[in-house]
């Protein structure tokens, strides 16, 4: 994995970017950076400021809040958005359980990115709505 074209290929099949044509995918690829985290690395740290928005290209990570595992994230999942959108430190650690490749957008760039890409924003809202429903199952 490396070039803009390869990142565009990698995200083309993800639900979040499903509505984008090739030139837009290339544009997204040029705004994000690729990052690699070995197994065991902490990507987000609960309570610490200054994080970013991450989309997983490959690998797996756990969401760990107050020492307890809350969820597992894999290819196509994203994290960090709540912290960036609210301007607050993350409420959980994200820990790589396998080598993890992500694309990353620094926190300060997320607002402009979402405003510029409404279809991505819509897909992201759908994913967040699903999470919300999962967290509040019908009794």
């Amino acid at each position: 994995m490396a070039t803009r074209e390869e990142i565009a290929d990698a995200i083309a099949g993800m639900a979040m970017f499903a509505d984008l044509a090739r030139p837009q995918l290339l544009g997204v690829a040029s705004q994000f950076e690729e990052a690699f985290f070995p197994k065991g690395a902490r990507i987000l740290r609960q309570g610490l400021t200054g994080s970013g928005f991450f989309v997983i290209l490959d690998g797996e990570a756990d969401v760990v809040a107050d020492g307890s595992k809350r969820a597992t994230l894999a290819r196509g999942d994203f994290f960090g958005e709540v912290s960036v959108l609210l301007g607050e430190p993350p409420i959980a650690d994200i820990v790589a359980t396998r080598p993890l490749r992500c694309i990353v957008l620094p926190g300060p760039g997320l607002e402009a990115f979402l405003v510029d890409h409404p279809r991505v924003t819509y897909r992201m809202l759908q994913a967040m709505a699903r999470r919300l429903r999962g967290a509040n199952p019908r009794r």
């Binding site: 994995m1 490396a2 070039t3 803009r4 074209e5 030139p23 837009q24 290339l26 544009g27 040029s30 705004q31 950076e33 690729e34 990052a35 690699f36 985290f37 070995p38 690395a41 902490r42 740290r45 309570g47 610490l48 400021t49 200054g50 994080s51 970013g52 020492g67 430190p89 080598p99 490749r101 990353v104 957008l105 620094p106 926190g107 300060p108 760039g109």
Partner: protein
């Protein structure tokens, strides 16, 4: 007869480090390699240094193309040349314990700028190598790598033009120096930045530059008086370091083309992706796709230069398991710059930017430049010395009553914190039995993610707003707290406001740590 034997029989000094087994082999002879060799020697760790080059200096033997650095050394800085504090004002000298080896760049300034010329930087590095007694086997090119199991343990085998080197630990300081060009139709009609010709040969030419980073704008600035028209393009809008308040973006030295573009002075700064280059009568046709509306556009040029960056010349390291990432194919690294996937392989110099740290607020470390990576090299070797060569690193006690002022002095004067913001931290452990101990400089991610006794760590940080502020981290049990302090417009963090704020934080830590 070997080249060594031939040299000896000619009466010439024998070249150091013939092929064989060494505990550590360092590859390279740029600032990254010189710094780690210096540190290894000071720990008494036997090592070989091999380099394909003919002399020290690495990329500074050739670049920057227009022969002037982007990194300052301030001759009249408010700190004494041989002091640690002076390093904040000197981005170009390597680090040394001996006063006479510190701040060497000052000896090699031509007086016209606080940015040294390329030859002056090369002289600085050459002088450091000579005076520090750093030996390098020049003209010895690393060509391939394999792993070998031996009775004494696993070894890396580095195949070179002069034979094989075996080692437990290999440190690669080979730069991010392999020219990279995008794969688009007709790219063979472009030349890379690395192959740019003498400026006057572009007189009257229409020049198209692929890429809007520093190398592209360096060429544009230098060729303004020669080219008849200069167009620069990449998909994203160009950013300047003035806007980002960091080293991210085009540096202030190279902003003249922005003004020329804004005033209609024959410079075009385009946000468009390159679709292809083709030959047409009288020149080259460059086809683009605009980023704002995805519409095609094209222009004609006499020359196309690809200023699209460099990749790491890691040769076959990926084939033995070294994971890489990003367009520059940087090796993924631990917080101590060891390959994240092949233990025993370390990196030094500009490649250490592959250990990205926290990148708080999206701001990267300065490991891609000498003033950042020279500290990484020092810490890497201390870590290796302690973990693999039984070295004992001194951790002097700090009187409990001095802790607050020690931390604030670090936040005001420590060059490591100024140059590696939110990346390196000044750490003091607070073991209840022995009292505060100065753990020295550590990677911040190590402090936050590693285990250890209760401790505090001071950093300097920035958030892109232009402010620089100290942050005190506190580790108690398994919990880490972050305490950002207010920025001071004069960057003096030793005043009463800071003493009060840090005193209150320390007061809550332990009754054995007096607040003030």
């Amino acid at each position: 007869m070997t080249s060594d034997a031939r040299a000896a029989s000619d009466g010439a000094p024998a070249r150091p480090f013939p092929p064989g087994e060494y505990p550590v082999v360092v590859v390279g002879s740029g600032p990254g390699a010189l710094q780690v060799s210096y540190e290894l020697s000071r720990f008494g760790i036997e090592h070989a240094v091999i380099s394909a080059d003919a002399g020290p200096g690495g990329m500074f033997r050739k670049w920057p193309f227009f022969q002037r650095l982007l990194s300052w050394t301030k001759p009249y800085a408010p700190a004494e040349r041989t002091s640690r504090a002076f390093e904040r004002w000197d981005w170009n000298s390597l680090l040394a314990r001996e006063p006479e080896l510190r701040g060497l760049q000052l000896e090699f300034m031509d007086g016209t700028s606080d940015f040294p010329s390329r030859p002056d930087m090369e002289r600085n590095l050459t002088a450091f190598a000579e005076r520090a007694g750093i030996k390098v086997r020049y003209g010895c090119r690393w060509q391939a790598t394999r792993r070998e199991e031996t009775a004494a343990g696993d070894r890396f085998v580095l195949e070179t033009t002069e034979g094989e080197y075996r080692c437990r630990f290999a440190i690669f300081a080979v730069g991010v120096a392999e020219p990279y060009s995008p794969t688009v139709p007709g790219i063979e009609l472009a030349v890379h930045y690395a192959d740019t010709r003498a400026a006057e040969t572009y007189a009257g030419k229409r020049l198209f530059i692929i890429g809007k980073q520093n190398s592209g704008f360096e060429l544009a600035s230098g060729l303004l008086q020669w080219a008849s028209r200069i167009s620069l393009s990449s998909p994203s809008p160009a950013k300047t370091s003035i806007e980002t308040h960091t080293l991210v973006g085009v540096r202030a030295r190279y902003v003249q083309p922005f003004e020329d573009a804004a005033l209609g002075g024959g410079v075009d700064i385009l946000a468009a992706s390159l679709k292809g280059i083709s030959k047409v009568p009288g020149g080259l046709r460059v086809d683009l796709e605009r980023s704002d509306n995805a519409m095609p556009m094209s222009l004609e040029a006499d020359e196309v230069i690809s200023a699209t960056g460099f990749t790491c010349p890691l040769l076959d390291l990926p084939s033995i398991g070294v994971a890489t990432f990003g367009q520059s194919k940087l090796p993924a690294q631990t917080e101590y710059w060891e390959s994240a996937t092949v233990p025993g392989i370390y990196f030094a110099g500009t490649i250490t930017q592959g250990s990205s740290g926290l990148k708080k607020h999206g701001i990267p470390s300065n490991s891609g430049a000498v003033h950042g990576h020279r500290y990484n090299g020092r810490l890497l070797v201390a870590h290796l010395a302690e973990t693999a060569f039984d070295a004992v690193i001194e951790r002097p006690a700090i009187a409990a009553g001095d802790l607050r002022d020690h931390l604030l002095a670090e936040a005001t004067h420590a060059p490591e914190l100024w140059h590696q913001k939110a990346y390196l931290a000044s750490v003091v452990s607070l073991d209840g039995a022995t009292g505060p101990r100065n753990e020295g400089i550590q990677p911040l991610s190590r402090f936050l993610d590693g285990e250890g006794p209760d401790a505090v760590a001071m950093t300097l940080e920035a958030d892109g707003s232009g402010a620089i502020f100290p942050v005190l981290y506190v580790r108690r049990g398994n919990q880490t707290e972050e305490h950002p302090l207010e920025p001071d417009p004069l960057h003096d963090h030793e005043g009463p406001t800071y003493r009060r704020a840090v005193g209150q934080i320390l007061e809550r830590l332990s009754p054995s740590v007096p607040a003030a």
